[in-house]
Symmetry: C2
Subunit: 171 residues, 2 copies
């Protein structure tokens, strides 16, 4: 029966998790600011997302959380992920397999905004940031032009490349 005051036992994922010194985790402020409570399931879920570099489905998250907190329900995982998406803390992406996948969008010191290569054969996902700079530049221009022309307020974009990964090319 995990309690709030035992939460310091939660694995933090070392430096990779996106801690901010020794204080509360960086997202605590965001939560308090919105009047949301910091609960065991939410901690656990964010913790799972912080520790992985993969693109987890809701069930993946559920399984990972379940190992440490077996009484956290799948429903709560869905609810929490939705909340985090809505807060901008987590990205929800569709890669064409038929389940939503989630990843931390960017901690203050965390991963940068990036795009994806998607293997249409094996489903592998490759993050890339290398060529983003030029892309961002063009995107900014394009967004401005589109916004003006269609009187559209652009808040976000999605770029994905589909094809065959190195493994799947071999055959």
């Amino acid at each position: 029966m995990p309690r709030w005051d035992t939460m310091h036992d939660l694995p933090t994922g070392g430096q990779a998790g996106g801690r901010h010194g020794r204080g509360p985790l960086w997202w605590h402020g965001r939560f308090h600011g919105c009047g949301y409570r910091i609960t065991v399931p939410r901690q656990a879920i964010l913790n799972v997302l912080s520790k992985t570099s993969e693109h987890l489905s809701a069930e993946d998250v559920y399984i990972a959380v379940h190992k440490i907190y077996p009484n956290v329900g799948l429903t709560t995982v869905y609810r929490t992920l939705e909340l985090l998406v809505q807060m901008g803390i987590v990205c929800k992406i569709d890669f064409g397999d038929k389940r939503a996948r989630y990843e931390l969008s960017e901690g203050p010191k965390g991963k940068r905004h990036h795009h994806h290569l998607v293997c249409t054969k094996c489903g592998r996902i490759i993050d890339y940031t290398d060529f983003i700079d030029k892309e961002i530049e063009l995107l900014t221009k394009t967004e401005k032009a589109l916004a003006k022309k269609h009187n559209f307020e652009i808040n976000n974009h999605l770029i994905q490349f589909y094809g065959l990964c190195s493994e799947c090319r071999k055959e």
Copy 2:
């Protein structure tokens, strides 16, 4: 009871539909080439897609087809759309509402490859091609660089901008 030899009564959508002169419709050859049969439901479905500039869901297509051929089943619509996607005749896109949407990818004289603006409030979709040229240029470069770096064979890409359309900005 529509019969094959009545199919010339199918509305063709005028010039916008992508006819190739007076002969069989342009995709007939593709079908024969693959050994696929040309059937009433397939004609009707392609006809619906040819006549609209919207991004129809499978059910939308079903409803439209159903008005003229009430005995065409939803299952067949799904199957046919999947076939057309697999043949490259139709694009299947996810806009974040939870249903796949379909549009003709490009007839020989048909619409060009394009990207989308998606209103996250009302769901409106805006096609744009205006700024594509520069994008394509960068995309080509990016694709080449990514392909080399990750040994990835890129076959396709998806670009979408999310935000608020002119209507939804007013409030």
